[in-house]
Symmetry: C2
Subunit: 252 residues, 2 copies
Amino acid sequence: MPTYKLTIEYDGAAYAGWQRQTKQATIQASLEFALRKLTQEPIATVAAGRTDSGVHALGQVVSFRSERSLASTDWTRGLNALLPKDIGVRSTELVSNEFHARYHAMSKVYEYRIVNERHRPVLDRGRVWHIPKPLDLAAMREAATSLVGTHNCLSFQGSPTDNTNPICDIRCLEVKNVEIEIHLRIEADRFLKQMVRAIVGTLVEVGLHKRKSEDVEKILALQDRRAAGKNAPAHGLYLVEVFYPGSVNRDP
Amino acid sequence: MPTYKLTIEYDGAAYAGWQRQTKQATIQASLEFALRKLTQEPIATVAAGRTDSGVHALGQVVSFRSERSLASTDWTRGLNALLPKDIGVRSTELVSNEFHARYHAMSKVYEYRIVNERHRPVLDRGRVWHIPKPLDLAAMREAATSLVGTHNCLSFQGSPTDNTNPICDIRCLEVKNVEIEIHLRIEADRFLKQMVRAIVGTLVEVGLHKRKSEDVEKILALQDRRAAGKNAPAHGLYLVEVFYPGSVNRDP
């Protein structure tokens, strides 16, 4: 059966995250509903990252199989006509039969957006975390440095899951200043549940001088969620990109 | 009585424009309601640009008078606590008594945002005009050049108004390419009703090769709204900045 790879964008505000649930609207349920309408087949999808409730995506990757063999542009156009306005397909590719969006992902990139100025954002409300007090970016960058590398990240796992491997290779953790915004960009081979939000929450506490940069190393070593900072809110988080073997890193 | 100058930001989606109306929610009514709550005085406001229904603002300027004399930061903070989430005050300044936000404005800057790629925007939906077919930016820029200068702009006036002066000095009209977006930035000493949307709609028809660049000069000369293109939709338009004597041009 042909296997397809979708790259999708969504506004997570109205959804209880990616994963299908009995009573709440989810991205996966909406996408599978559109796929079923388009193909008349019951289609199961797999996403690279199972984003939490309220989290957005600019480049989530989804794989599925279907008896239907449509041209890429027809999949994209057909799905976009059926999906709600807050979910959109950016591209569809026919891939090899064994392709699996989650198992084959080499790394994922998340971006977290903060507006760091006194007044609340208006046009960007619900899309960024508003922090009115000035953040010490130098301290945040110093703390970020000690997170880069291969670590046991249990201190940043939001709640216990069936996942038994707490080791993540954080390949990059940048703190960028974009006008009045601060963007934290993090790339890793894998992420524990709510890990980005726990890391961002902790770095923000460093930026507000509630913690020292050098504390982050100790937090990692403790392997205890209570050691780290509060989770940053979901609505500032974006799944930006997923890399697969043979895929080329695009410049941001 | 002290006179104040507010710089405000708003998401126009939920409002029937700036100007107070009997039955519909407007920016002016919401702002005057907040001012009344804060001061216990009935306060009348004047805006630099009376934006249409659905139009946004990043830097609308508003003047008002009040018996209350508060510090700038207290006005800003007090109003932000009372205003709805889609309207925000960025700054408050005490100005000279004769200051009038509309009469004293030397020029205003509007920006129009277009997303020019095949797939509909998701996170930016309702904030940009989606044009799936590729736009010929060179042709649009050529057409824009002939609009810069002092002209009778009746061909771009949306509907008859009580305004009897159709002469506008368009000081700048840039067509910028920002990743997948096209931003049209227009600065003029004054604007006729729906003028920016008529100009953008006409330039887009040039970009789609439905009209030639050189037609724009003829359209201006005809002084007839029927000669120009359709209005661009309101939701892509932003009032960005207003300049007053003595105020310094900030770089974009």
